[in-house]
């Protein structure tokens, strides 16, 4: 598959009509994939059957089959044929092949989950130009949101709170609501447009004080959690006093030093009110959990899985919220700094998943995550011949197809909207965009939140599919994997990133393991260089060669291609210092006159 993909066909208008070629290819590959996954038919084929059964051959067949959809997109063919091939392969052939071999369904779901992740990251990196290396954290948020409530974890959390109820629940609830209301109201008041005084820098002193304040606030939060039947202990009271006094102290010191006090204090005020609101939320949630602790036994296997649909929405909201929370402080930064800081925050979420054992099961992970029961769908699937244990897979397969459809539509619509244009403007030149009236922070936050929400919903589906999650699914390598999908396919191009996700996932889940198994049988290949174990190397090579040879990706968006081939010439600010020969580089010189033509192009490659 890779061989066919690496040279993306030139899309010239004189491409021949390939309707029949497409149909023939579709029929042949479908037949092969149906046969090669049919347990009854294979033995009858004799040696051909054993050949088809080999993992690497099977991986090759699957790749060829999936190439159908790519060809349907790329080739010039009659629309009905394109539609037939697309719908035929996704709705009919794949599920039917999957009926005999559930791993194929699993693979298709994985591919689509990663395609959606890549589409989300594409918004953040490809359109808005914000390099996010911690993207997988949002995936984790979605996965844990559903994982905790739809598994025995929920019962254990309730039991724990039943045992550590602390103060009476109702007053706590009331107190929490009051805190939340006051904090929220003050926060909104402070963030009113007229109320935000603009200071360009915060002094080092303020930063230090805020560090201490944040640390102390963390301790205070912790104190509320462990506040058992005892009253507030003396240290906690002192901590509270210090937290409240810190800003005053800082203000006093500042006044002595003659700095701009009120402007600099603005951050404190917002921080403190935000803290108030967050503490309110914690108290409310805690008291609700405590009140429900009695139901722990009833919820020993998680909530009613019928809440799947509600949580589909909730996981989107949770991931988007986390996206905004992470984005708010860090989106001021650009380029490398943003990359490294998002990487860090992604790691923070992973470490939390590892350490908050009560909620996430720590490194043991969460077991027994349920998926939604849909009786009529199960009946339908049963009629077609699926077995009971496959129902949830088929269901998730169609859910994920629908989700991809929705996400793709949202993407295309967003790309053509004002927001999409604002993203691209920011990516291309932040200062110019700001000068033209694009609200930087808001636009970036929308990009972050949109990308995060896609990841969140897919995380939830991932949890339901795997029925088990643990922190190893959310490590940095995964983030880089998704990034390599986006880059391989072509940043900013929707078909491109889907293609990239397909190629990388196939490589990861089928081709490399298949090759590895094959190589294990060959005596002269040492185990150390077994391709099944060289995933990092292969991703690294993909990233480097793509950047060196074809930075615009396999299916680039046209605008991006023009950009990448232009910038080298337009902003050549590096002296090739060899004896002052400034133009020594063998750069291909394109006419700058091409640039205006590029301006009219919409990026995204939706067409």
């Amino acid at each position: 598959m890779t061989a066919t993909l690496t040279k993306a066909p030139p899309r010239d208008p004189v491409q021949p009509d390939r309707t029949w070629l497409l149909l023939i290819f579709f029929v042949i590959t479908s037949a092969v994939i149906l046969i090669s996954h049919n347990g009854e038919m294979l033995p009858r084929l004799g040696s051909l059957g054993t050949l088809l059964k080999k993992p690497i051959v099977e991986a090759f067949m699957v790749s060829l089959f999936l190439a159908n959809i790519l060809f349907a997109y790329l080739w010039r063919a009659a629309p009905w044929a394109k539609l037939l091939v697309g719908i035929g392969s996704l709705i009919f052939v794949l599920p039917f092949a999957g009926k005999e071999d559930a791993s194929l369904l699993d693979l298709s779901i994985s591919i689509m989950i990663f395609a959606a992740l890549a589409l989300g990251l594409n918004i953040v990196v490809g359109l808005a130009g914000l390099l996010d290396l911690g993207y997988i954290a949002f995936f984790a948020v979605g996965a844990y949101t559903w994982g905790i409530v739809a598994s025995p974890r929920l019962g254990e959390v309730l039991k724990y709170y039943g045992g550590h109820a602390g103060a009476a629940a109702t007053p706590t609830l009331a107190f929490g609501v009051v805190l939340l209301l006051i904090g929220g109201a003050l926060f909104t008041y402070l963030r009113r447009p007229g109320n935000t005084s603009r200071t360009d820098s915060t002094s080092f002193l303020q930063a230090g004080a805020l560090v201490v304040a944040a640390f102390l606030a963390m301790l205070a939060g912790r104190a509320i959690f462990t506040q058992g039947d005892t009253r507030w202990s003396m240290p906690v009271i002192w901590l509270g006093v210090i937290i409240l006094l810190l800003p005053l102290l800082a203000m006093g010191i500042q006044r002595l030093r003659g700095h701009n006090v009120l402007g600099g204090l603005h951050n404190y005020k917002q921080f403190l009110t935000g803290l108030l609101a967050v503490m309110g939320v914690i108290l409310v949630v805690r008291s609700i959990v405590v009140m429900n602790a009695l139901k722990a036994d009833g919820l020993a296997t998680g909530i009613n899985p019928g809440f799947f649909w509600l949580f589909l929405a909730l996981s989107i909201m949770a991931a988007a919220t986390v996206g905004v929370l992470i984005g708010l402080p860090v989106l001021k930064l650009k380029g490398d700094y943003l990359a490294i800081i998002t990487l860090g925050l992604g790691e923070v979420i992973r470490v939390l998943a590892n350490n908050l054992g009560l909620y996430t099961g720590g490194s043991q992970g969460i077991n027994g995550i349920k998926s939604a029961p849909v009786p009529w769908f199960d009946k339908l699937a049963g009629l077609v011949g699926f077995t009971d244990d496959q129902f949830y897979l088929v269901f998730l397969y169609f859910v994920v197809i629908a989700m991809i459809g929705i996400i793709l539509t949202v993407n295309i619509r967003l790309d053509k909207s004002r927001i999409g244009r604002a993203w691209i403007a920011i990516r291309d030149d932040e200062i110019a965009a700001q000068a033209m009236g694009v609200p930087l922070m808001q636009t970036k936050l929308i990009a972050f939140a949109t990308g995060a929400s896609f990841a969140g919903v897919m995380g939830m589906i991932f949890a339901a599919k795997q029925q088990f999650i643990d922190p190893t699914s959310f490590i940095l390598t995964q983030s880089i994997g998704v990034l390599s999908m986006v880059i391989l396919g072509g940043m900013g191009s929707f078909p491109g990133v889907i293609l990239g996700a397909t190629v990388v996932t196939l490589l990861n889940l089928r081709i490399l393991p298949g090759l590895g198994e094959q190589a294990a049988n060959v005596s002269w290949i040492p185990q150390q260089v077994n391709p099944g174990q060289l995933q990092r190397l292969i991703f690294g090579v993909i990233l480097v060669t793509m950047m060196l040879l074809r930075p615009e990706g396999l299916l680039p968006s046209r605008r991006r291609t023009l950009e990448l081939h232009h910038e080298g010439n337009q902003e050549d600010d590096s002296g090739h210092g060899s004896g002052g020969g400034l133009n020594a580089g063998p750069v291909e010189v394109l006419s700058p006159g091409l640039a205006p033509a590029a301006e009219g192009e919409r990026s995204g490659g939706a067409k």
Binding site: P235, G335, V351
Partner: protein
């Protein structure tokens, strides 16, 4: 634990943090030098430095039974690691970064990530051929003994340290000295030689430096060589400090060191050192927060244990970047429109 025992304990934690911080500082210098010249986060530096650690391991392994003096072995290990890491860094620059000199900033950054992934697996394969994964340093016996174990042979400084209860191994002292020497040499190289002047000129303005007859490509290669050599040194020191390394263990210290570079103001050499030392101390303090909690009598502090050490660096990084993006000693960079 009461206050009387707490104080020496804290002092030890801080001194240990400084030792750790010295290693971070040298790694951070590798990042900061490359960043200063190319404005590129060399993600592959963490692997370059682990390569140095692996070379150091091999040297110590090969020389294990030789009658050479321990310090000589260390010197050989350091030189070999410097040579190989430096050469590796130059090769990486030539193959992966130079062709992309004029590309948008995102492109070399992604390449750097790719190179880092490649190196991880290459290292693993190379060591895997010998059936090794975790490389445990076999240091000369003298290094792991306590510094100033016998009072008779102690210098006044050693006696003083012993009296105030600071507990160091000999290797920690060696480590501090080696990093100190590297710093001094680097400082001389950058500030007092023609090469250093040329590198600083290229870092400031590549075009103008080119007009002055400086070959910027060669200067960038030299920067990478120096950065790689520093990586080699820090790799050996890291191996000495922690005892065990493997192909993947570069990520964590690499990130911490990068944080250190940012904390001090990226591009600034004294900044990198200051940042490294600060982060080393912070990490060590986070590691013992639960002990401190037991002293203060707060169970809440006890919940923060060593597994949060990793987060410490990141949180510091976030706070710095939010409030002082130029770092402690960095100069503010005004963007021209």
């Amino acid at each position: 634990m009461d206050l009387a025992t707490l104080l020496p304990f804290l002092v030890n934690v801080i001194v240990g943090g400084l030792v750790l911080g010295a290693v971070y500082a040298i790694i951070a210098l590798g990042y900061t030098m490359v960043y200063g010249v190319l404005q590129l986060i060399n993600f592959a530096h963490s692997e370059v430095f682990i390569t140095g650690a692996v070379v150091g391991f091999e040297v110590f392994r090969v020389l294990k039974d030789s009658p050479l003096d321990g310090y000589l072995k260390l010197l050989i290990a350091l030189l070999a690691a410097m040579l190989i890491s430096g050469a590796l860094n130059v090769v990486i620059e030539r193959l992966a970064y130079r062709p992309l000199r004029n590309a948008p900033k995102l492109v070399p950054l992604i390449t750097a990530i790719g190179v880092s992934l490649i190196l991880q697996d290459v290292l693993r394969v190379i060591e895997g051929f010998q059936g090794r994964f975790d490389l445990t340093y076999t240091l000369p016996g003298a290094f792991t003994t306590k510094f100033c174990a016998a009072a008779s042979s102690c210098a006044p400084v050693g006696t003083f340290l012993r009296n105030i209860g600071i507990d160091l191994q000999l290797k920690d002292v060696v480590l501090l000295i080696v990093s100190g020497i590297s710093l001094a040499v680097l400082n001389y190289l950058v500030n007092h030689t023609r090469l250093g002047t040329a590198i600083r000129a290229v870092a400031q303005d590549r075009v103008t430096a080119g007009l002055m007859g400086i070959d910027s490509n060669r200067m960038i290669a030299a920067t990478f060589a120096i950065g790689g050599a520093l990586g080699g040194i820090s790799g050996v020191l890291f191996g000495m400090k922690f005892g065990t390394v493997n192909a993947y263990s570069g990520f964590d210290p690499g990130i911490v060191a990068f944080t250190a570079a940012v904390l001090g103001g990226i591009g600034s050499i004294p900044g990198a050192v200051l940042g490294g030392l600060t982060l080393g101390v912070i990490q060590n303090l986070i590691g013992v927060t639960n002990v401190l909690g037991s002293v203060v009598g707060s169970a809440n502090l006890g919940a923060i244990d060593a597994s949060y050490q990793r987060i410490g660096a990141f949180i510091v990084l976030v706070l710095i970047l939010i409030f002082k993006p130029t770092g402690l000693l960095g100069k503010s960079n005004v963007e021209k429109v």
